[in-house]
């Protein structure tokens, strides 16, 4: 076994990473204690690291240093007092008897988060994506598909076709989730025929979407396992083959 010329701490980290990687890959043969131990270690390490980061990145610079006067950023006393009070009220959530005291703070956090999320969704997603559905297929895309020498007329026509397909896909996908039906006495409620046809088309688009999503997840996983295999091989090659 050949030890590379690297720092011992880095070498130890590498060895630990190698062992943990092997233990995780043993899950391919089923659940086993080694895998369980590794998972527990990972969870513990992640939690500890997150706590340390939270202290160094949030609590100390935003609360401790202003209170101690070591903060380089000017903080007004009111702002500092408000921070302190809100933090203390939020800490009351630890006990069920005093949890009610932290309800205003929780409500404040939830309310602001909901407001920012709703505002961003409306402005940044709904309006922009709805307006951009028609312009999904650009001229460049068509030129890429059919060549750059395509004339304007076919170009416009193709854009229209592809735009129509995109629009049909969008509408049919939304109609797939439309379950309103007219009630008929002594009969099972049935949707309108047009709605049923569009829903059937939308079901196809949804299936294609799910397939694409699955492909992306599979590719990401494939890249991850490739990287791990390369790591293992590199370690083996380093320690055993020099």
């Amino acid at each position: 076994m050949i030890f590379p010329d690297i720092a011992p701490l880095e070498l130890l980290g590498t060895m630990i990473a190698f062992v943990i990687t092997v233990l995780i890959l043993l899950y391919a043969f089923g659940d086993n204690p080694a895998f369980r131990i590794t998972i527990h270690i990972f969870i513990g390490v992640a939690a500890g690291y997150a706590g340390g980061v939270a202290w160094h990145s949030i609590i100390r610079p935003y609360l401790i240093e202003p209170l101690s006067g070591q903060s380089l950023s000017p903080v007004s006393p009111f702002d500092l007092t408000l921070r302190l009070v809100l933090v203390m009220l939020l800490l009351t959530k630890l006990s069920s008897r005093t949890a009610f005291l932290g309800n205003p703070v929780s409500a404040y956090l939830v309310g602001i988060g909901a407001a920012s999320a709703i505002g961003g969704a409306i402005k940044g997603t709904i309006f922009s994506l709805a307006g951009g559905s028609g312009g999904v297929v650009t001229a460049n895309t068509i030129q890429l598909l059919f060549g750059e020498n395509i004339s304007n007329a076919p170009l416009i026509g193709l854009r229209l076709i592809f735009t129509g397909i995109m629009l049909l896909g969008t509408i049919s996908t939304l109609m797939f989730f439309h379950f309103s039906a007219k009630s008929i006495p002594n009969q099972t409620p049935v949707r309108h025929r047009l709605v049923t046809i569009l829903a059937w088309i939308g079901e196809g688009f949804i299936a294609i979407t799910f397939g694409v999503l699955f492909a992306g997840v599979y590719i990401a996983s494939l890249d991850a396992i490739i990287e791990r295999l390369n790591f293992l091989w590199s370690v083996i090659k380093t320690f055993f083959f020099g």
């Binding site: 980061v53 610079p61 380089l72 940044g124 922009s128 992306g216 990401a220 494939l222 991850a224 490739i226």
Partner: protein, 736 residues
């Protein structure tokens, strides 16, 4: 039982029965004719075989005695009497007479109803008349007559008496009593003879039961007490001097009377006069077998016992006929025809009335208390009425002399119901039964197939890694639009531009992200841009360090010297991004230590010119989560202005983020997605030292190819299987 009219005779003196008139004035016929109103089945005339009864004294003109007319139940209806044809009444008759007087007195006292004065008066009259008669007339004949009548009266009185524990007399006796009551307003002749009978003593003068003798007054053994004076004289003899035989008499049938527990007055008189033997009275009647005779009454009759030889024959014959009549009555319940035997009996013994046939038909047909056919009636066997015939049985709900029946709780199911139940059970059980599934075979097949696929993929990935082959060329086609734009934007950067880079991916996806972002950062660093690192995840700063150290440190001293500014982690999610977009200095306070001096990082390069988020030259978000990308787009992008927002995405996030790139106006100016994007970028910039994507490309290509092959083969197999199964189904349907 035939319907018996139990009408109580009225108290009118004019309603004396005819027989009483006959007894009072005329010589009775040898057969002892009975009144025509007598119902059938009545007690045969005890004197039917006897001589004509002696003439009885004329009845009192005052009419029927009160004890006959009184409607109370305690008042004993007078039985039909007939003149006795015997000439010489024996001593026992006298004793019976006395006993009768005593019993009558006791009845009156027990009932305590009716006018006592009248009862007392008539008793006195009876005693007086009796005494007179005895003194003037032949006592024998009159006593015989009186004896017969008194026996009948005694029986009748026993029937209707209440408050005494007595058996009901038979229907014939009741019928006779009714008939007798409805006739002859003058009263029986024998009653006139009883008027001279001595009065009964008061109850308080009654001696003890043990000391009871025939000459003593009748003891008040029951509650009823006679207030009348008991006669002490029987003619010239004192009743006390008249010996009473203590010998037990013969059977009640021989004795010829039914002891009801109290002596009639005439018996009492007879007792006093000494004509009544105690043996006669002490005999227990057969019809009352099993009855708990009051001890006092039995003791009271001890002095009046009659010997079998003392009783005349007609008495025994009478009791026999009574039994026959009872049997005949029992038979009549099932037939509407009047029993001929009774008719014969009537014609033979007494002149009975012809009961119309309609009367026979009026009896209840389905009477629950009908006597047993062929028998003399249902004899009560239990209870206080044991021994009596044709007794109304106690309601089973009230009196239960036996163990109540146990009803079965089993459900009675017919055959058809059983069949239906079995059929229903089969239907239900069929639904609950689970079909045998071929799990074992299927598990083996799926397990083997799973291992085969996994092995194939591992081999396809491991072989290129182990071989470190780079035979697979990187994509050389024109990169996608998003990559081209991304490249152009980076090309427009110069060395004074500050680029904000957000590391927002998970440690597990670092391999892909390294492959996708390495070429970009290489290009970015080649352009001389200043990097400012941020992260909304705790692991972001660490990942950033590792990425730059592993992919860029070797090629760029900027990274090796860590000249970039790492603002670290800031929490708050969307709110933190919005805060960053509005006021980055406030959102990301930072101090750096320079020569042991803490300085504000925002006052140092490259942040000294950054006041707003739009002051950055470019914003690059490296993420594997589409949600994170969307948050940056929604919260920060509106504040960027002309600053382009670009992303390095994972392959799994790219489908959901691409619409933001394709929107108009674009939310994302450009992006690089996954290993393919990284390969494209590496291929486009043409830098050989950047080989991250190159290193993974062979494995990526073979692995992806094998995966496509497996998917294709699997789809093909499923399609063939579906077609074959459908052909089988169609063929099976065609065969059917």
């Amino acid at each position: 039982m035939p319907d018996i009219d139990m009408d109580v005779p009225s108290e009118s003196e004019d309603e004396d029965s005819d027989w009483l008139k006959e007894l009072s004035g005329d010589d009775p016929s040898p057969d002892g004719e009975l009144p025509a109103e007598e119902s059938s089945g009545q007690v045969s005339d005890p004197q039917s075989s006897q001589d004509a009864p002696a003439e009885l004294p004329a009845p009192d003109d005052s009419g029927v005695p009160d004890w006959m007319i009184d409607g109370d139940a305690t008042e004993a209806p007078q039985a039909e009497t007939q003149s006795d044809e015997e000439n010489d009444p024996p001593d026992w008759l006298n004793s019976i007479r006395e006993a009768e007087n005593q019993s009558q007195a006791e009845e009156e006292l027990s009932a305590a109803q009716g006018p006592e004065e009248s009862d007392g008066d008539w008793l006195e009259r009876i005693r007086d008349s009796e005494q007179e008669r005895l003194a003037s007339e032949d006592p024998g004949e009159q006593e015989d007559e009186n004896f017969i009548a008194r026996i009948q009266s005694m029986e009748a009185s026993e029937e209707s008496s209440d408050g005494e524990d007595k058996e009901q007399p038979s229907a014939d006796l009741l019928a006779d009593d009714e008939t007798a009551q409805s006739e002859d307003d003058e009263g029986p002749d024998w009653l006139s003879g009883l008027l001279v009978a001595p009065p009964t003593p008061p109850p308080e003068d009654v001696p003890e039961e043990e000391d009871l003798v025939w000459e003593d007054p009748v003891p008040a053994s029951d509650d009823s007490g006679s207030t009348e004076e008991i006669p002490t004289q029987n003619g010239d003899q004192d009743l006390a001097d008249i010996p009473i035989e203590s010998e037990s008499p013969a059977t009640p049938e021989e004795a010829g009377f039914v002891d009801t527990g109290s002596l009639p007055s005439w018996l009492a008189d007879m007792k006093r006069t000494g004509s009544l033997d105690d043996a006669v009275l002490s005999s227990e009647p057969a019809s009352f077998a099993g009855e708990d005779e009051p001890a006092a009454q039995a003791d009271g009759l001890a002095d009046l016992e009659l010997t079998p030889g003392d009783l005349p024959d007609w008495i025994t014959e009478k009791s026999t006929d009574d039994e026959v009549d009872e049997e005949i009555l029992a038979e009549e319940e099932t037939s509407d025809e009047p029993p001929a035997e009774i008719e014969e009996t009537e014609t033979k013994d007494i002149a009975s009335a012809d009961m119309p046939k309609w009367l026979y038909g009026m009896r209840p047909i389905e009477s629950p208390y009908a006597p047993v056919e062929g028998g003399a009636g249902v004899e009560e066997t239990v209870g206080p009425l044991a021994g009596l015939l044709d007794v109304l049985p106690a309601e089973p709900e009230i009196v239960q002399f036996g163990k109540p029946p146990v009803y079965s709780m089993n459900l009675e199911v017919s055959n058809s119901q059983q069949q239906n139940a079995e059929l229903f059970e089969q239907i239900i059980s069929a639904d609950s039964q689970s079909l045998k599934s071929k799990t074992k075979a299927l598990a083996l097949t799926q397990g083997a197939l799973r291992w085969a696929i996994a092995g194939l993929i591992f081999v396809s990935l491991l072989v290129p890694v182990l071989s470190e082959s780079t035979s697979m060329p990187l994509p050389t086609a024109i990169p996608p639009e998003e990559i081209l734009i991304f490249q152009s934007l980076i090309k427009d950067l110069d060395q004074e531009d500050t680029v904000l880079v957000a590391f927002e991916y998970q440690p597990g996806m670092s391999g892909e992200m390294h492959a996708a972002a390495s070429a970009v950062f290489d290009h970015l660093l080649l352009q001389g841009a200043q990097l400012v690192l941020v992260s909304t995840q705790p692991t972001g700063p660490a990942l950033a360090d590792i990425f730059l150290d592993q992919t860029q440190a070797a090629q760029h001293r900027y990274v090796a010297e860590k000249s970039y500014r790492d603002l670290g982690y800031f929490s708050g999610g969307n709110t933190a991004l919005l805060n960053l977009a509005l006021n980055p200095r406030l959102a990301l306070p930072m101090t750096v230590t320079v020569e042991e001096t803490d300085l504000n990082a925002w006052d140092m390069p490259p942040l000294q010119s950054i006041n707003l988020i739009s002051d950055f030259s470019m914003l690059i978000v490296i993420t594997d989560d589409p949600e994170t990308a969307r948050n940056w787009i929604e919260q920060v992008q509106p504040s960027l202005g002309d600053t382009p927002l670009t992303m390095v995405l994972s392959a799994q996030a790219e489908p959901l983020v691409r619409p933001y790139f394709q929107s108009d106006p674009k939310k994302i100016n450009g992006y690089v997605s996954g290993l393919l994007g990284g390969a494209y970028y590496e291929s486009s910039i043409g830098r050989d030292h950047v080989r991250t994507a190159r290193l993974y490309w062979n494995s990526y290509s073979t692995g992806l190819g094998v995966t496509v092959f497996i998917i294709f083969m699997g789809s093909l197999a499923e399609t063939v299987s579906y077609l074959l199964s459908r052909r089988k189904r169609s063929s099976s349907k065609a065969q059917l």
